[in-house]
């Protein structure tokens, strides 16, 4: 009786305080409250929470705040990771070193010399993300943000046609019912209609587009892949103020991480390589500086060794560093209506280092 009586008086006291000085109550730590008023810590916490609820009723809800303070236990995260799909690349060696394929909700950076196949891989992934679930895909759509102008529609048509053909072959071999149904909607026209293409000419357009991305992804909730082909190009010229560049890039990276998490999409960025002049030699390093290296979760570097293309997994939280060889193949079309089959296929020796 005494205890509860004292409690109600103190809660009233807290409320009274709140009425008078809202701000000070907000900064009132539980420990301090329990010490001053002489109640237990749990009771002080209860009292504060009552006050907080009243204060929070006034402030408007943040527009993007739904995912801003997400917390979960490691178990929940494990379950989420295990049921999550990967975007497969159709090159089994590459999928293996990535741990199954391109992961959703993470930023993957692909660095490489010019002509090594970065845009090819991006175009392939824009098609692969749409593979129906019964064939092992994530049945999503793709957003392609192009800053260099290297997107070739004809190439995407070839890749998509080959992918559809491949799925048809699987369906014939396995003869399952849902395969047939999925194939009805997995047509060339549908694949192309679900690649949303934006051409950004300079860094301002890129910044604007990334600001508008959450809204776009809320309207098109099936998007599971965002590709920015050429994050380096708009930032590598006309920038005397390197501090501004670092700040803008960090801001971009942050927004992309939030977007990737909120909408369960994979983000792929392609980066250029630049020559760093050392004391006696020069080496090829990813562009945009050291601090940019922290932005991506997974980093793949494509490079050459003589005439063999190699892909090295350089940074990953769950897979170990390894290198594989790959090829970009095109089968020579025999007739005019046979599509060319473009794929990243494992090279002759798949070296796992």
């Amino acid at each position: 009786m005494d205890h509860s009586g004292r409690r109600s008086a103190d809660t009233d006291g807290c409320k009274w305080d709140a009425g008078k000085r809202r701000d000070s109550v907000r900064w009132c730590f539980v420990l301090l409250a329990s010490l001053e008023i002489g109640i237990s810590r749990e009771e002080a916490l209860e009292a504060l929470q009552v006050v907080r609820q009243e204060c929070h009723g006034d402030t408007a809800r943040t527009p993007g705040g739904s995912g801003a303070t997400r917390k979960c236990t490691a178990l929940e995260l494990l379950e989420e990771e295990q049921t999550q799909g990967f975007i497969i690349t159709f090159c089994s060696a590459l999928d293996n070193i990535l741990g199954g394929g391109v992961q959703l909700t993470k930023i993957t950076e692909i660095c490489g010399a010019p002509g090594v196949g970065k845009t090819q891989l991006c175009m392939q992934l824009a098609v692969d993300v749409q593979i129906p679930e019964c064939f092992g895909g994530v049945a999503g759509e793709a957003v392609f943000i192009d800053t260099e102008g290297s997107f070739m529609v004809d190439r995407v048509v070839d890749i998509a046609a080959a992918c559809v053909q491949h799925c048809h072959l699987i369906a014939e071999a396995q003869q399952e019912e849902d395969h047939g149904k999925a194939l009805e909607t997995f047509s060339l026209e549908n694949i192309l209609s679900h690649i949303y293409y934006f051409r950004c000419r300079d860094y301002t357009e890129l910044l604007a587009q990334v600001y508008l991305l959450p809204e776009f992804l809320s309207e098109h909730s099936k998007v599971r892949l965002v590709v920015i082909d050429g994050i380096a190009f708009p930032f590598r010229h006309d920038f005397e103020d390197l501090a501004l560049r670092t700040r803008l890039l960090n801001g971009l990276a942050q927004q992309l991480i939030i977007t990737a998490n909120d909408h369960r999409a994979a983000v792929i960025l392609t980066n250029q390589m630049t020559t760093r002049i050392g004391q006696s030699q020069s080496t090829l390093v990813p562009a945009l500086g050291e601090s940019w290296g922290h932005a991506a979760t997974v980093r793949l570097i494509f490079h050459w060794d003589n005439t063999q293309r190699l892909a090295t997994l350089y940074k990953s939280p769950s897979q170990k560093e390894s290198t594989i060889a790959y090829d970009i193949t095109v089968s020579v079309p025999v007739g005019r209506d046979m599509p060319s089959w473009v794929t990243l296929s494992p090279g002759k020796d798949c070296t796992q280092i």
Binding site: E205, G251, G278, S282
Partner: protein, 353 residues
């Protein structure tokens, strides 16, 4: 798009006035500020600033198109996607010819035929569409004073004798090729910036710059401090304006480059080797593996430039008079080699044409 004034972004009059006091007048200025700075200059709350950001972003973000719409647009106008080079094997490998809307680079040691190739392409661009041309004018920016009008007429008369059967037709063709002689980097850049008006006025369908390397290498000595960064800056600025022009008007842009010999001593300089095809010693066969650490030849202007061009063709000597044409970088073609000679009618491919 970046220089769009905030007034036109549908911000209120008083907001624009307030921002102009802080010298923020364009969308670019607005988007470069951090959220905190924006809150300070606009005097608005966090949520209001988010809404303003979305408004400004919408004003300068690019328009969305699906890949399907792009394909439909291309199929409506198929002939305008390429400039056929009339070298049939090359056209087949490049899926039509020199692509419109992107930058193509032709690199070679001196005397291999870059200027000849450029002159030949100028003739082809002025041909009517029915003969595989683009039926338009040509802008030829000459930095080496290597253009010869007599050779132009010789190529035209010998390559298409049936079409150019009268002097009248030849003179008409020469009238549509506009030649500019620029001898410094600064004037080349100024000329590139002013090209937009010329393209619209004169109905230009092809832009040739012969050669970028000669002006750049004359003025920038990369061994001096700071010159490398300045050179990269100049090149990427030029490249981005040219890319914009190429895409906006759907025309091919052709640039020529030189070959440089790099003396190497060890693995350090291997870094500059952007692709095996660029290492011309490799294309001579597989017996060169022992010679890797002595001198090797590569395209000039560095790594950053190689990222900016979309297609790269390399010409080099074989057994005189035969020469070799390599497709070193292309989003649609694999590495291919062709042999050609230079005749009265321009370049002629050997073997099965």
């Amino acid at each position: 798009m970046a220089a769009k004034k905030l007034r036109r972004a549908q911000l209120s009059q008083e907001m624009c006035e307030r921002l102009s006091r802080y010298q923020i007048t364009t969308c670019q200025d607005f988007l470069c500020l951090s959220l905190l700075e924006l809150m300070k200059v606009t005097g608005q709350s966090y949520y209001e600033v988010q809404k303003l950001l979305c408004k400004v972003s919408r004003a300068c973000a690019p328009k969305m198109q699906t890949a399907y719409e792009m394909k439909l647009r291309k199929s409506v106008n198929p002939s305008s996607a390429f400039l056929s080079t009339t070298l049939h094997s090359l056209d087949r490998v490049l899926h039509g010819g020199v692509p419109c809307g992107s930058l193509t680079e032709i690199t070679s040691p001196p005397g291999c035929g870059k200027t000849q190739f450029c002159i030949m392409l100028s003739v082809l661009a002025t041909l009517p569409v029915s003969m595989g041309g683009l039926d338009g004018a040509v802008i030829y920016i000459d930095t080496e004073s290597a253009f010869s009008a007599e050779r132009l007429i010789e190529i035209a008369a010998n390559r298409f004798p049936a079409y150019y059967d009268s002097d009248e037709k030849l003179l008409c063709m020469t009238r549509s090729i506009h030649l500019y002689r620029e001898l410094t980097c600064c004037s080349v850049l100024k000329r590139i910036m002013s090209l937009e008006e010329e393209i619209i006025l004169k109905k230009v369908k092809l832009v040739i710059i012969d050669s970028v390397a000669s002006v750049v290498r004359k003025e920038f000595d990369t061994k001096l401090q700071g010159n490398l960064a300045e050179r990269s800056n100049f090149l990427t600025r030029g490249a981005s304006v040219l890319k914009y022009l190429a895409e906006e008007f759907s025309i091919p842009v052709i640039l020529t480059n030189q070959i440089t010999t790099a003396l190497s001593s060890g693995p350090g300089v291997r870094a500059d080797l952007v692709s095996p095809a660029d290492d011309l010693s490799l294309s001579e066969g597989s017996s060169v593996s022992g010679k890797r650490d002595s001198a090797y030849v590569t395209a000039a202007l560095g790594n950053t430039w190689s990222h900016s061009v979309n297609t790269r063709l390399i010409l080099q000597y074989h057994d005189l008079p035969t020469r070799q044409l390599l497709v070193a970088k292309s989003p649609v073609a694999p590495f291919s080699t062709f042999f050609y000679t230079i005749e009265k009618s321009g370049l002629v491919l050997q073997g099965h044409v």
